[in-house]
Symmetry: C2
Subunit: 352 residues, 2 copies
């Protein structure tokens, strides 16, 4: 008997890097950032529903490989992500990622997707969504400190979601700034190349830090931060890596995604474990105040949480229908009779 | 500038269900079972090297979705597997699985593979490898209690690895036994269809139990078990699911994969947490005795462990080279300049 082709249930839609990039252009990067921010906000609003587990990390001397699972009771998702700081020396990415969604009711995967590009988008969308809630009203200028892979995404997300009109770039490496300025050309933002972190902050109501060194760095010192700003601290995301001077933390009201994780990985690893923080989801659903005065310094100590990946995968799942931007992957065995897996294998034998 | 195709580093070999079945026929099922058993034995021999974590489970009322990661310090692997007992009512598999290997030194995935078929093979190969070490010398007859999806794989693994010549089938559902007997026809085993568990055990030196009900069942009662047998208990693999009467456990010397997991999921969940067990890997590397007398009753309380999946994925990785049985999957973003992810996305824009 010839092998029968797999049924629809056995085929998992796969979004490759190439198709993810096509999806970005199909939707448009700013509408997609806004859409992702909406999905993330929806999921933050129903935070209590989620099964929240700290990421499961496998550490080595060279880096870390992590699995970040979560579930809302109907859909299960996880992201695979690595972090290998020395990879760039060999022409490899520091971080690569992919993710999966599955149906909780039967355990069958429903989406497999690249997540290197998608994580860049969701990180920026999260920053924009949080700034919409916490940045000073009318904020139109951002200092972008650290002009690596995330900098253009951050700039466009703040434009798309918060109405940013100007971005002021600075990086310790002028080539990085040049790259970011070049990439942002013609995309509707006034781009200023600055020669110091201090000058980048002139007139900025939003300050985004996104640097890469794994150390206790001091990108922002206490005297650099004026009243009323929104600090969007993206780059610190593991133990032993921070970007802000403790003085800045003490002058700020601090907002986080998931305190259990942020206290290990975020800027607040520098603070006592009982230092008060507010969870973003409580601001979004109205149970805790966000910004309460114009002079208040607000710090979003962002580390990235599994629910944001879940939201991003949901967004992709909901937007690939009717496109040819996915490949049906024969990932699941699907015998006609579930007890007859062996018979399925036998029937796949080449015809003699 | 047109988008450049992804580099080799960005492409992850993917083995679909169809290609896994072709690989089985390309290698031959018995040589493949022996090869898998060798890989598993190699990895059990270096057990101490492995990063061992209990599986990470997401439970729901309908079932469970689990991630099973491990690493030997050079290669990282994980398996995604679900367990949804009611799935068969809807024509779906109770268990589906896929797995991944990655390079610990840079975090890049090196293999993505279906694991529904592969798990069936590795489970049988593990049983065969363990029976080779612990079954009575010259064992040639197996009682196969429970004739579901695993039964043919178990029978052939015992033939390929331990020299089994006869299998005695019994299942509460005669249709299941008929299916297994039909599938095993012409594969070199004497197949006996039996009308009770007791009659299946006549003359059998190896007794394999592999039943599916999630309950404290008693497939084997104390009076059914004569001296000297090797009991290969496969089917109990979660809390609340066992197959053997406590009396059988008390008369047996018990061997397990990973006690921390087996005490939760295996037959020994019925015993006090300090009941003595021997780890298989200690028998294989010679630090603990295996079978010490012909009359000894040995129980392999098998639950399946992440290292077996790791071994199976290594085997597949090492055997797809030079074949066309995999698809290079564009899973990882690979910009020319790792800091220029945005530029890579921009260059993928459709030409106007």
């Amino acid at each position: 008997m010839p092998a029968t082709p797999p049924s629809d249930k056995a085929l998992v839609p796969f979004v490759s890097v190439e198709n993810m990039m096509k999806l970005v252009h199909h939707i448009g990067i700013e509408p997609m950032l806004r859409g992702l921010a909406d999905y993330i906000e929806q999921d933050f609003r129903r935070w209590d529903l989620f099964d929240k587990t700290p990421r499961i990390a496998s550490h080595s001397t060279e880096g870390v490989i992590e699995l970040m699972p979560t579930s809302d009771g109907e859909v299960y998702g996880f992201k695979y992500v690595n972090g290998h700081p020395k990879n760039t020396r060999n022409g490899l990415q520091t971080v690569t990622a992919f993710g999966l969604l599955a149906d909780v009711s039967n355990g069958y995967p429903v989406l497999l997707s690249e997540m290197t590009v998608l994580t860049a988008l969701r990180t920026a969308a999260t920053s924009g969504m949080v700034a919409k809630h916490l940045a000073p009203k009318g904020a139109d200028t951002m200092a972008m400190i650290g002009n690596g892979a995330q900098s253009e995404f951050q700039s466009l997300a703040m434009k798309a979601i918060c109405g940013l009109t100007s971005v002021r770039l600075w990086d310790i490496d002028p080539a990085a700034t040049h790259k970011t300025a070049h990439n942002l050309k013609g995309l509707g933002l006034n781009v200023h190349v600055c020669d110091s972190a201090e000058s980048a902050m002139e007139g900025a109501q939003i300050i985004t830090t996104c640097t890469a060194d794994k150390q206790y760095a001091t990108i922002l010192t206490d005297n650099m931060i004026g009243s009323g700003v929104h600090i969007n601290a993206i780059g610190g995301d593991c133990p032993g890596k921070t970007e802000l001077a403790p003085g800045v933390l003490h002058r700020s009201d601090i907002f986080v995604e998931y305190p259990e994780q942020t206290r290990i990985e975020g800027e607040i690893q520098q603070l006592p474990p009982d230092h008060p923080v507010t969870q973003i989801w409580e601001v979004i659903n109205g149970t805790k105040p966000g910004r309460t005065s114009a002079g208040q310094i607000i710090l979003f100590d962002s580390v990235g949480f599994a629910i944001e990946d879940f939201s991003a995968l949901r967004y992709v799942r909901d937007h690939i229908g009717g496109t040819d931007l996915y490949l049906p992957l024969d990932l699941l065995a699907d015998p006609d009779d579930p007890r007859d897996l062996f018979g399925m294998v036998q029937r796949a034998a080449p015809v003699a």
